[in-house]
Amino acid sequence: MESVARSQSAIEPDTAAPKDATLIYRQSRWTRLTHWLWAISLFFMLLSGLQIFNARPQLYIGKESGFAYDNTIFAIGAENTANGPRGYTEIFGKRFDTTGVLGWSGPAGRETSRAFPSWATIPSYYDLGTARVVHFFFAWILTTTLVVWLVASLINGHLRRDLAPRIDDLRRLPRDIADHARFKFRHRREYNTLQKMAYGGVMFVLLPLMIITGLAMSPSMNAVLPFLNDLLGGRQTARTIHFIVMLLLVAFFIIHILMIFAAGPINELRSIITGWYRTDPPAHGSKTPQRSA
């Protein structure tokens, strides 16, 4: 961390700082505020959600859960074997031993049967009622934040300027993929194509889908919007989609963090905390010309 900081200050002479053309105001206060509200609420929703899942660690396809017939596509459980209790995870009938993490976990000698381990749930002990309190509180925060962000981004131009897909994006896609694969990043004001796809996908597909499938599980909302479960394929399918979208959001989070570290964590964090972002200095007839914005 210290060496990163030192090397950065070496290429940032103090004299250039105030009028530094490479330092730009990239993220508006609305983007920054909503980003952190999401970070906090998604953290709590994930961990309380896993606790809720633990109460019924099975996923089904259809309107109901099959007890006299089988419509289970995913299950986490524990079983007794000759080698003692083992945890398992079953996907489409195929069983994997996941002892220690899924199904059977805990401190050595005090393992218990629980789908997701203690360190991945809020509260750490089994408590469905409390997990629901936490989950639904942050569901309100998350949804309100999404609406605030949408309105603010429409007004301040964030949507139009930064996220709206353009023909150019499609043209740049192959090169963008190649750049990412080589961890080669251009620090510019604009989002690159893969960034647009990732952020747009989260904002306009994953989060809305999470909210819709969440509402589809609410018996009262089923009375208000009866078509929702017909559209999704039944309440239990909605619950399964809710879980899959959770996995996609976790995957997004992991890639997001990896990319921040690869692209320069100080600069990236500064831009999402203060708004200021250091862009690459203009190329002086270099071999890698800047692409036009």
Partner: protein
């Protein structure tokens, strides 16, 4: 500027240390703040009141989805207490509930004591609905019973009544002060909802013991724990602060939200 950058760096360092501190303690830190009655928890629980008001506003008196006979593919899965061990209950069961009565009391003009036959002679409603357990599973079944609104009309509810409190025959828990029988409550809007019935029939047959015989509540726009089984008494109240732990029901007193529409 250099100073400015350093302070930012310091901020980032301490912020990341703070976050990793929370992560390292495995969120055990939250555990102690989340018990019933704690300040943080009470604050978070405020969201349930918001959900209740929002869903009331949106749902009005709309009906829960109803299904077809073809959707009944299995017996109704029982949950919670499935065979009450209480002597009073076993005595009533031995006599096929001939001595059982449903008491209607509290804030009513005319307290009632109804036999099962009297209830069954009132107009009935049959509905194929999906039961959603708080644990996450669902099960579709056909329920037959007396609309609760008809019973309330017969008892003439006093204007100051706000909730219907259900008292049950089954012991759900034991405490130092004795056995705790299941109890729960709903507001008068759900109580008067056309699909809220006192069910005595399941899938065309008399309600079995594991599903709540002789009588259970169906509140189709809420989660399963809001539908008490083995009913004994319906009490009209203007609040539930003095009943049980004061949160409106057995599971509510154990940390579950009073409003179970979600």
């Amino acid at each position: 500027m250099a100073k400015f950058v350093i302070s930012r760096r310091k901020f980032l360092t301490s912020a990341s240390l703070g976050v990793s501190g929370i992560m390292l303690s495995g969120c055990d830190a939250f555990d102690s703040q989340l018990r019933v009655g704690d300040g943080l928890r009470s604050f978070l629980e405020g969201a349930n009141g918001l959900t209740w008001r929002a869903q009331r506003l949106l749902a009005g008196d709309s009906l829960a989805p109803e299904f077809t006979e073809a959707d009944i593919r299995q017996p109704q899965r029982p949950n919670g207490v499935t065979a009450p061990d209480d002597d009073v209950y076993k005595g009533l069961l031995a006599n096929n509930f001939a001595d059982w009565r449903l008491e209607v009391s509290g804030l009513v003009e005319k307290p009632l004591s109804l036999t099962r036959e009297q209830l069954m002679n009132m107009p009935s409603r049959t509905q194929i609905t999906r039961h959603d357990c708080v644990e996450g599973w669902s099960c579709i079944a056909k329920w037959t019973g007396t609309p609760l609104s008809l019973v309330l009309d017969q008892a003439v509810v006093k204007p100051q009544a706000r909730y219907v409190m259900f008292h049950c025959l089954d012991t759900i828990d034991r405490s130092l002060s004795g056995d705790i029988k299941y109890y729960g409550s709903i507001d008068l809007i759900d109580a008067r909802h056309p699909q809220t019935i006192l069910a005595y029939g399941l899938n065309g047959k008399p309600l079995p013991v594991e599903n709540g015989a002789p009588l259970r509540v169906r509140v189709e726009r809420q989660i399963g724990y809001k539908m008490p089984k083995y009913l004994r008494k319906i009490e009209l109240v203007d609040g539930f602060a003095t009943i049980g732990g004061g949160r409106g029901g057995y599971w509510e007193d154990n940390g579950y939200d009073w409003y179970g529409g979600i």
